[in-house]
Symmetry: C2
Subunit: 240 residues, 2 copies
Protein backbone atom coordinates (compact mmCIF):
# COMPACT_ATOMS: atom_id res chain seq x y z
CA UNK A 1 0.00 0.00 0.00
CA UNK A 2 1.43 3.41 -0.88
CA UNK A 3 2.24 5.79 1.96
CA UNK A 4 -0.24 8.52 2.96
CA UNK A 5 0.54 11.87 1.31
CA UNK A 6 0.72 15.37 2.74
CA UNK A 7 0.97 19.01 1.78
CA UNK A 8 2.03 21.98 3.89
CA UNK A 9 0.53 25.45 3.66
CA UNK A 10 2.72 28.22 5.13
CA UNK A 11 0.70 31.39 5.67
CA UNK A 12 2.63 34.61 6.17
CA UNK A 13 3.60 37.87 4.47
CA UNK A 14 6.78 37.90 6.58
CA UNK A 15 8.14 34.86 4.70
CA UNK A 16 7.27 36.20 1.24
CA UNK A 17 8.82 39.61 1.95
CA UNK A 18 12.09 38.00 3.01
CA UNK A 19 11.86 39.42 6.53
CA UNK A 20 11.72 35.99 8.15
CA UNK A 21 13.36 32.77 7.06
CA UNK A 22 10.88 29.93 7.38
CA UNK A 23 11.95 27.18 9.77
CA UNK A 24 8.77 25.11 9.92
CA UNK A 25 8.94 23.50 6.48
CA UNK A 26 12.28 21.89 7.23
CA UNK A 27 11.06 20.62 10.60
CA UNK A 28 7.79 19.17 9.30
CA UNK A 29 9.48 17.56 6.28
CA UNK A 30 11.84 15.48 8.41
CA UNK A 31 9.11 14.57 10.93
CA UNK A 32 6.79 13.33 8.18
CA UNK A 33 9.58 11.34 6.54
CA UNK A 34 10.23 9.53 9.84
CA UNK A 35 6.53 8.75 10.16
CA UNK A 36 6.19 7.37 6.62
CA UNK A 37 3.97 10.19 5.35
CA UNK A 38 5.15 11.52 1.97
CA UNK A 39 5.30 15.32 1.82
CA UNK A 40 4.45 16.07 -1.81
CA UNK A 41 4.01 19.84 -1.92
CA UNK A 42 4.53 23.00 0.10
CA UNK A 43 2.85 26.30 -0.68
CA UNK A 44 3.75 29.63 0.89
CA UNK A 45 1.02 32.25 0.53
CA UNK A 46 0.22 35.66 2.00
CA UNK A 47 -2.26 36.58 4.75
CA UNK A 48 -5.02 36.97 2.19
CA UNK A 49 -8.47 35.47 2.62
CA UNK A 50 -9.06 34.38 -0.95
CA UNK A 51 -5.57 32.82 -1.26
CA UNK A 52 -5.95 30.84 1.96
CA UNK A 53 -9.43 29.52 1.13
CA UNK A 54 -8.41 28.55 -2.41
CA UNK A 55 -5.18 26.80 -1.39
CA UNK A 56 -6.85 24.96 1.51
CA UNK A 57 -9.50 23.50 -0.78
CA UNK A 58 -7.01 22.53 -3.49
CA UNK A 59 -4.55 20.83 -1.13
CA UNK A 60 -7.22 19.17 1.03
CA UNK A 61 -8.70 17.55 -2.06
CA UNK A 62 -5.34 16.39 -3.44
CA UNK A 63 -3.55 14.92 -0.40
CA UNK A 64 -4.27 12.71 2.63
CA UNK A 65 -3.24 15.44 5.07
CA UNK A 66 -2.67 19.20 5.01
CA UNK A 67 -0.60 20.96 7.67
CA UNK A 68 -0.82 24.75 7.97
CA UNK A 69 1.45 27.12 9.87
CA UNK A 70 0.78 30.73 10.76
CA UNK A 71 -2.02 33.20 11.31
CA UNK A 72 -3.77 31.86 14.43
CA UNK A 73 -2.75 34.53 16.99
CA UNK A 74 -4.84 37.36 18.47
CA UNK A 75 -4.07 40.19 16.02
CA UNK A 76 -6.06 41.60 13.09
CA UNK A 77 -3.88 39.79 10.52
CA UNK A 78 -4.57 36.37 12.10
CA UNK A 79 -7.32 35.17 9.78
CA UNK A 80 -6.42 31.52 9.26
CA UNK A 81 -9.12 29.95 11.45
CA UNK A 82 -11.88 31.95 9.74
CA UNK A 83 -10.52 31.06 6.30
CA UNK A 84 -10.34 27.33 7.08
CA UNK A 85 -13.97 27.44 8.28
CA UNK A 86 -14.92 29.25 5.05
CA UNK A 87 -13.03 26.70 2.93
CA UNK A 88 -15.20 23.91 4.33
CA UNK A 89 -18.40 25.96 4.60
CA UNK A 90 -18.76 25.58 8.38
CA UNK A 91 -19.47 28.15 11.11
CA UNK A 92 -16.87 29.44 13.52
CA UNK A 93 -17.19 30.89 17.02
CA UNK A 94 -15.64 30.93 20.48
CA UNK A 95 -15.74 27.39 21.82
CA UNK A 96 -16.17 26.63 25.53
CA UNK A 97 -13.29 24.16 25.89
CA UNK A 98 -10.82 26.42 24.05
CA UNK A 99 -11.99 29.40 26.11
CA UNK A 100 -11.50 27.45 29.35
CA UNK A 101 -7.90 26.60 28.36
CA UNK A 102 -7.11 30.28 27.73
CA UNK A 103 -8.97 31.44 30.86
CA UNK A 104 -6.94 29.12 33.09
CA UNK A 105 -3.67 30.12 31.38
CA UNK A 106 -4.13 33.89 31.64
CA UNK A 107 -5.51 33.66 35.20
CA UNK A 108 -2.38 31.72 36.24
CA UNK A 109 -0.20 34.44 34.67
CA UNK A 110 -2.18 37.36 36.15
CA UNK A 111 -3.25 38.49 32.66
CA UNK A 112 -6.69 39.37 31.37
CA UNK A 113 -8.52 37.25 28.78
CA UNK A 114 -9.45 40.30 26.72
CA UNK A 115 -11.33 40.41 23.43
CA UNK A 116 -8.19 40.07 21.32
CA UNK A 117 -6.97 36.98 23.20
CA UNK A 118 -10.45 35.48 23.08
CA UNK A 119 -10.12 35.40 19.26
CA UNK A 120 -7.74 32.48 19.80
CA UNK A 121 -10.67 30.43 21.16
CA UNK A 122 -12.53 30.78 17.83
CA UNK A 123 -12.69 27.22 16.46
CA UNK A 124 -14.57 26.02 13.36
CA UNK A 125 -17.54 23.73 14.02
CA UNK A 126 -16.63 20.06 14.05
CA UNK A 127 -12.89 20.58 14.63
CA UNK A 128 -10.75 18.77 17.23
CA UNK A 129 -8.31 20.85 19.28
CA UNK A 130 -4.54 20.39 18.96
CA UNK A 131 -2.73 20.68 22.27
CA UNK A 132 -0.28 23.59 22.67
CA UNK A 133 1.97 22.94 25.68
CA UNK A 134 4.02 26.09 25.01
CA UNK A 135 1.56 28.99 25.05
CA UNK A 136 -1.77 27.13 25.50
CA UNK A 137 -3.82 28.72 22.65
CA UNK A 138 -4.80 25.54 20.76
CA UNK A 139 -4.53 24.60 17.12
CA UNK A 140 -7.21 22.45 15.55
CA UNK A 141 -7.87 19.69 13.03
CA UNK A 142 -10.83 20.14 10.65
CA UNK A 143 -11.38 17.17 8.33
CA UNK A 144 -7.88 16.46 6.96
CA UNK A 145 -6.42 19.91 7.70
CA UNK A 146 -4.22 20.43 10.77
CA UNK A 147 -4.00 24.12 11.68
CA UNK A 148 -0.97 25.18 13.71
CA UNK A 149 0.87 28.29 14.88
CA UNK A 150 3.74 29.87 12.94
CA UNK A 151 6.10 30.56 15.87
CA UNK A 152 8.61 27.69 15.45
CA UNK A 153 8.65 26.50 19.09
CA UNK A 154 4.83 26.34 19.14
CA UNK A 155 4.62 24.82 15.67
CA UNK A 156 7.00 22.06 16.70
CA UNK A 157 5.06 21.36 19.90
CA UNK A 158 1.81 21.13 17.92
CA UNK A 159 3.36 18.80 15.35
CA UNK A 160 4.44 16.57 18.25
CA UNK A 161 0.84 16.69 19.56
CA UNK A 162 -0.83 15.76 16.29
CA UNK A 163 1.57 13.39 14.49
CA UNK A 164 1.25 10.36 16.81
CA UNK A 165 -2.50 10.27 16.08
CA UNK A 166 -1.98 9.89 12.32
CA UNK A 167 -1.53 6.59 10.54
CA UNK A 168 1.86 6.50 8.87
CA UNK A 169 3.33 4.22 6.27
CA UNK A 170 6.76 2.71 5.96
CA UNK A 171 9.39 5.27 7.00
CA UNK A 172 11.48 6.55 4.13
CA UNK A 173 15.07 5.35 4.59
CA UNK A 174 18.12 6.83 2.91
CA UNK A 175 21.81 6.18 2.43
CA UNK A 176 24.30 8.79 1.27
CA UNK A 177 27.61 8.17 -0.52
CA UNK A 178 30.08 10.87 -1.42
CA UNK A 179 31.82 10.74 -4.79
CA UNK A 180 34.74 13.09 -5.39
CA UNK A 181 34.08 13.51 -9.09
CA UNK A 182 32.25 16.10 -11.17
CA UNK A 183 28.53 15.52 -11.58
CA UNK A 184 29.05 15.11 -15.33
CA UNK A 185 31.25 12.05 -14.71
CA UNK A 186 28.71 10.52 -12.35
CA UNK A 187 25.55 11.09 -14.38
CA UNK A 188 25.73 8.16 -16.82
CA UNK A 189 26.49 5.34 -14.31
CA UNK A 190 23.87 6.86 -12.00
CA UNK A 191 21.25 6.78 -14.73
CA UNK A 192 21.96 3.05 -15.21
CA UNK A 193 21.64 2.45 -11.45
CA UNK A 194 18.29 4.26 -11.48
CA UNK A 195 17.07 1.75 -14.09
CA UNK A 196 18.40 -1.23 -12.08
CA UNK A 197 16.65 -0.07 -8.88
CA UNK A 198 13.32 1.39 -10.05
CA UNK A 199 11.79 1.36 -6.54
CA UNK A 200 14.47 3.69 -5.20
CA UNK A 201 14.61 7.44 -5.66
CA UNK A 202 18.18 8.47 -6.49
CA UNK A 203 19.37 12.02 -6.04
CA UNK A 204 22.69 13.61 -6.94
CA UNK A 205 23.64 16.76 -4.98
CA UNK A 206 26.80 18.38 -6.31
CA UNK A 207 29.15 20.54 -4.29
CA UNK A 208 32.30 22.47 -4.94
CA UNK A 209 34.80 22.82 -2.10
CA UNK A 210 38.34 24.21 -2.18
CA UNK A 211 38.25 24.04 -5.97
CA UNK A 212 37.34 20.34 -6.04
CA UNK A 213 34.11 18.99 -7.48
CA UNK A 214 32.09 16.28 -5.81
CA UNK A 215 28.56 15.10 -5.20
CA UNK A 216 26.57 13.39 -2.51
CA UNK A 217 24.55 10.55 -3.96
CA UNK A 218 21.41 9.78 -1.95
CA UNK A 219 19.33 6.63 -2.38
CA UNK A 220 15.88 6.80 -0.80
CA UNK A 221 13.37 4.02 -0.35
CA UNK A 222 11.45 1.94 2.17
CA UNK A 223 13.37 -1.33 1.63
CA UNK A 224 16.69 -1.50 3.48
CA UNK A 225 17.92 -4.48 1.41
CA UNK A 226 17.43 -2.62 -1.87
CA UNK A 227 19.23 0.42 -0.44
CA UNK A 228 22.25 -1.65 0.59
CA UNK A 229 22.38 -3.37 -2.83
CA UNK A 230 22.32 -0.03 -4.63
CA UNK A 231 24.99 1.36 -2.31
CA UNK A 232 27.23 -1.67 -2.96
CA UNK A 233 26.82 -1.23 -6.74
CA UNK A 234 27.76 2.44 -6.44
CA UNK A 235 30.83 1.59 -4.36
CA UNK A 236 32.01 -0.79 -7.08
CA UNK A 237 31.56 1.96 -9.67
CA UNK A 238 33.27 4.66 -7.58
CA UNK A 239 35.62 3.05 -5.00
CA UNK A 240 36.88 5.37 -2.28
CA UNK B 1 0.35 51.39 -10.83
CA UNK B 2 0.58 48.24 -8.71
CA UNK B 3 3.92 46.44 -8.50
CA UNK B 4 4.67 43.46 -10.75
CA UNK B 5 3.96 40.12 -9.05
CA UNK B 6 6.02 36.95 -8.82
CA UNK B 7 5.88 33.33 -7.79
CA UNK B 8 8.72 30.93 -7.05
CA UNK B 9 8.75 27.24 -7.90
CA UNK B 10 11.26 25.17 -5.91
CA UNK B 11 11.80 21.77 -7.55
CA UNK B 12 13.42 19.08 -5.43
CA UNK B 13 12.72 15.88 -3.54
CA UNK B 14 15.61 16.72 -1.21
CA UNK B 15 13.66 19.67 0.24
CA UNK B 16 10.41 17.72 0.67
CA UNK B 17 12.16 14.80 2.38
CA UNK B 18 13.78 17.12 4.91
CA UNK B 19 17.30 16.21 3.80
CA UNK B 20 18.12 19.73 2.69
CA UNK B 21 16.95 23.02 4.13
CA UNK B 22 16.01 25.36 1.30
CA UNK B 23 18.03 28.57 1.19
CA UNK B 24 16.90 29.99 -2.14
CA UNK B 25 13.41 31.12 -1.14
CA UNK B 26 14.74 33.42 1.56
CA UNK B 27 17.32 34.90 -0.81
CA UNK B 28 14.91 35.50 -3.69
CA UNK B 29 12.25 36.96 -1.39
CA UNK B 30 14.52 39.73 -0.12
CA UNK B 31 15.94 40.45 -3.58
CA UNK B 32 12.47 40.83 -5.08
CA UNK B 33 11.34 43.07 -2.22
CA UNK B 34 14.28 45.41 -2.88
CA UNK B 35 13.39 45.50 -6.58
CA UNK B 36 9.71 46.29 -5.99
CA UNK B 37 8.42 42.96 -7.30
CA UNK B 38 5.82 41.42 -4.97
CA UNK B 39 6.46 37.73 -4.26
CA UNK B 40 2.94 36.34 -3.82
CA UNK B 41 3.41 32.58 -3.69
CA UNK B 42 6.06 29.89 -3.38
CA UNK B 43 5.49 26.26 -4.27
CA UNK B 44 7.85 23.40 -3.44
CA UNK B 45 7.23 20.29 -5.53
CA UNK B 46 9.02 17.03 -6.27
CA UNK B 47 11.09 16.05 -9.32
CA UNK B 48 7.97 14.80 -11.06
CA UNK B 49 7.12 15.67 -14.66
CA UNK B 50 3.39 16.13 -14.24
CA UNK B 51 3.80 18.24 -11.09
CA UNK B 52 6.35 20.55 -12.74
CA UNK B 53 4.33 21.06 -15.92
CA UNK B 54 1.11 21.70 -14.00
CA UNK B 55 2.65 24.15 -11.50
CA UNK B 56 4.55 26.03 -14.24
CA UNK B 57 1.37 26.63 -16.23
CA UNK B 58 -0.66 27.66 -13.19
CA UNK B 59 1.94 30.10 -11.84
CA UNK B 60 2.91 31.52 -15.25
CA UNK B 61 -0.74 32.39 -15.91
CA UNK B 62 -1.31 33.96 -12.49
CA UNK B 63 1.78 36.15 -11.96
CA UNK B 64 4.02 38.58 -13.87
CA UNK B 65 7.12 36.45 -13.28
CA UNK B 66 7.93 32.90 -12.18
CA UNK B 67 11.36 31.95 -10.83
CA UNK B 68 12.28 28.26 -10.61
CA UNK B 69 15.15 26.65 -8.72
CA UNK B 70 16.50 23.13 -9.13
CA UNK B 71 16.69 20.28 -11.60
CA UNK B 72 18.89 21.67 -14.40
CA UNK B 73 22.07 19.64 -13.86
CA UNK B 74 23.42 16.68 -15.90
CA UNK B 75 21.86 13.73 -14.02
CA UNK B 76 18.79 11.59 -14.79
CA UNK B 77 16.66 13.41 -12.18
CA UNK B 78 17.30 16.82 -13.79
CA UNK B 79 14.13 17.15 -15.83
CA UNK B 80 13.20 20.80 -15.32
CA UNK B 81 14.21 22.12 -18.78
CA UNK B 82 12.19 19.42 -20.58
CA UNK B 83 9.18 20.06 -18.34
CA UNK B 84 9.26 23.84 -18.93
CA UNK B 85 9.37 23.21 -22.70
CA UNK B 86 6.42 20.83 -22.34
CA UNK B 87 4.48 23.36 -20.24
CA UNK B 88 4.66 25.86 -23.12
CA UNK B 89 4.39 23.30 -25.93
CA UNK B 90 7.77 24.13 -27.51
CA UNK B 91 10.61 21.88 -28.65
CA UNK B 92 13.87 21.45 -26.78
CA UNK B 93 17.33 20.46 -27.96
CA UNK B 94 21.05 21.18 -27.57
CA UNK B 95 21.62 24.79 -28.59
CA UNK B 96 24.84 25.96 -30.23
CA UNK B 97 25.51 28.96 -27.99
CA UNK B 98 24.90 26.98 -24.78
CA UNK B 99 27.05 24.14 -26.12
CA UNK B 100 29.87 26.57 -26.91
CA UNK B 101 29.82 27.93 -23.35
CA UNK B 102 30.13 24.43 -21.90
CA UNK B 103 32.76 23.37 -24.45
CA UNK B 104 35.02 26.30 -23.55
CA UNK B 105 34.51 25.71 -19.81
CA UNK B 106 35.34 22.00 -19.80
CA UNK B 107 38.24 22.46 -22.24
CA UNK B 108 39.74 25.07 -19.89
CA UNK B 109 39.42 22.60 -16.98
CA UNK B 110 40.77 19.61 -18.90
CA UNK B 111 37.41 17.84 -18.66
CA UNK B 112 35.38 16.14 -21.38
CA UNK B 113 32.04 17.51 -22.59
CA UNK B 114 30.41 14.08 -22.40
CA UNK B 115 26.79 13.19 -23.11
CA UNK B 116 25.64 13.82 -19.55
CA UNK B 117 27.19 17.31 -19.43
CA UNK B 118 25.79 18.09 -22.86
CA UNK B 119 22.30 17.71 -21.36
CA UNK B 120 22.93 21.07 -19.71
CA UNK B 121 22.98 22.69 -23.19
CA UNK B 122 19.39 21.55 -23.84
CA UNK B 123 17.40 24.79 -24.06
CA UNK B 124 13.72 25.17 -25.04
CA UNK B 125 13.07 26.93 -28.35
CA UNK B 126 12.65 30.68 -28.01
CA UNK B 127 14.36 30.97 -24.62
CA UNK B 128 17.06 33.48 -23.66
CA UNK B 129 20.07 32.22 -21.71
CA UNK B 130 20.74 33.34 -18.13
CA UNK B 131 24.43 33.83 -17.39
CA UNK B 132 26.04 31.53 -14.82
CA UNK B 133 29.38 32.99 -13.74
CA UNK B 134 29.92 30.24 -11.14
CA UNK B 135 29.82 26.97 -13.07
CA UNK B 136 28.95 28.18 -16.61
CA UNK B 137 25.99 25.87 -17.43
CA UNK B 138 23.35 28.51 -18.21
CA UNK B 139 19.82 28.99 -16.93
CA UNK B 140 17.17 30.35 -19.26
CA UNK B 141 14.10 32.54 -19.50
CA UNK B 142 11.11 31.22 -21.49
CA UNK B 143 8.22 33.67 -21.70
CA UNK B 144 7.77 34.85 -18.09
CA UNK B 145 9.53 31.87 -16.45
CA UNK B 146 13.14 32.21 -15.28
CA UNK B 147 14.76 28.79 -14.83
CA UNK B 148 17.73 28.62 -12.47
CA UNK B 149 19.92 26.10 -10.65
CA UNK B 150 19.22 24.83 -7.14
CA UNK B 151 22.77 25.00 -5.74
CA UNK B 152 22.55 28.22 -3.64
CA UNK B 153 25.74 29.89 -4.90
CA UNK B 154 24.70 29.33 -8.53
CA UNK B 155 21.08 30.29 -7.87
CA UNK B 156 22.19 33.57 -6.31
CA UNK B 157 24.52 34.32 -9.24
CA UNK B 158 21.71 33.66 -11.73
CA UNK B 159 19.29 35.86 -9.78
CA UNK B 160 21.90 38.63 -9.98
CA UNK B 161 22.14 38.02 -13.75
CA UNK B 162 18.41 38.16 -14.43
CA UNK B 163 16.95 40.67 -11.95
CA UNK B 164 18.46 43.87 -13.39
CA UNK B 165 16.69 43.17 -16.71
CA UNK B 166 13.24 43.11 -15.09
CA UNK B 167 11.07 46.15 -14.57
CA UNK B 168 10.45 46.65 -10.88
CA UNK B 169 7.99 48.79 -8.99
CA UNK B 170 8.36 50.86 -5.84
CA UNK B 171 10.56 48.98 -3.37
CA UNK B 172 8.70 47.74 -0.32
CA UNK B 173 9.93 49.63 2.75
CA UNK B 174 9.50 48.53 6.33
CA UNK B 175 9.98 49.77 9.87
CA UNK B 176 10.07 47.53 12.92
CA UNK B 177 9.20 48.49 16.50
CA UNK B 178 9.58 46.21 19.49
CA UNK B 179 6.88 46.20 22.15
CA UNK B 180 7.58 44.35 25.40
CA UNK B 181 3.99 43.31 25.98
CA UNK B 182 1.99 40.18 25.26
CA UNK B 183 0.44 40.01 21.81
CA UNK B 184 -3.00 39.98 23.41
CA UNK B 185 -2.36 43.45 24.87
CA UNK B 186 -1.15 44.80 21.54
CA UNK B 187 -3.85 43.38 19.27
CA UNK B 188 -6.64 45.93 19.80
CA UNK B 189 -4.60 49.15 19.36
CA UNK B 190 -2.88 47.51 16.39
CA UNK B 191 -6.21 46.71 14.76
CA UNK B 192 -7.16 50.42 15.07
CA UNK B 193 -3.82 51.46 13.52
CA UNK B 194 -4.48 49.08 10.61
CA UNK B 195 -7.74 50.94 9.95
CA UNK B 196 -6.02 54.34 10.18
CA UNK B 197 -3.31 53.33 7.68
CA UNK B 198 -5.07 51.15 5.12
CA UNK B 199 -2.21 51.38 2.57
CA UNK B 200 0.24 49.77 5.01
CA UNK B 201 0.55 46.10 5.78
CA UNK B 202 0.99 45.66 9.54
CA UNK B 203 2.42 42.47 11.01
CA UNK B 204 2.80 41.43 14.63
CA UNK B 205 5.49 38.79 15.34
CA UNK B 206 5.43 37.61 18.95
CA UNK B 207 8.41 36.23 20.80
CA UNK B 208 9.08 34.85 24.23
CA UNK B 209 12.50 35.35 25.74
CA UNK B 210 13.73 34.65 29.28
CA UNK B 211 10.09 34.26 30.35
CA UNK B 212 9.08 37.70 29.02
CA UNK B 213 6.54 38.22 26.26
CA UNK B 214 7.03 40.72 23.48
CA UNK B 215 6.37 41.29 19.81
CA UNK B 216 8.03 42.97 16.86
CA UNK B 217 5.56 45.16 15.03
CA UNK B 218 6.41 45.59 11.35
CA UNK B 219 4.84 48.21 9.10
CA UNK B 220 5.36 47.63 5.38
CA UNK B 221 4.54 49.94 2.50
CA UNK B 222 5.97 51.94 -0.37
CA UNK B 223 5.40 55.40 1.18
CA UNK B 224 8.05 56.43 3.72
CA UNK B 225 5.90 59.28 5.12
CA UNK B 226 3.03 56.92 5.92
CA UNK B 227 5.44 54.49 7.57
CA UNK B 228 6.87 57.20 9.82
CA UNK B 229 3.39 58.45 10.78
CA UNK B 230 2.31 54.93 11.71
CA UNK B 231 5.51 54.39 13.69
CA UNK B 232 4.95 57.66 15.60
CA UNK B 233 1.37 56.64 16.43
CA UNK B 234 2.60 53.27 17.72
CA UNK B 235 5.28 54.95 19.86
CA UNK B 236 2.60 57.12 21.48
CA UNK B 237 0.55 54.00 22.24
CA UNK B 238 3.52 51.99 23.56
CA UNK B 239 6.32 54.33 24.74
CA UNK B 240 9.67 52.67 25.38
Amino acid sequence: MPNPTAAMLVIGDEILSGRTRDANMYHLASQLTEQGIDLKEVRVISDDRESIVHATRALSAAYTHVFTSGGIGPTHDDITADCIAAAFGVSIGVRADARAILQAHYAANGQVLNEARLRMARIPDGAQLIDNPVSKAPGFTLQNVHVMAGVPSIFQAMVASVLPSLTGGKPLLSVTYRVDRGEGDIATPLGLLAKTFPELSIGCYPFQKDGLFGANIVFRGTDETQLQKALAALQVEFPQ
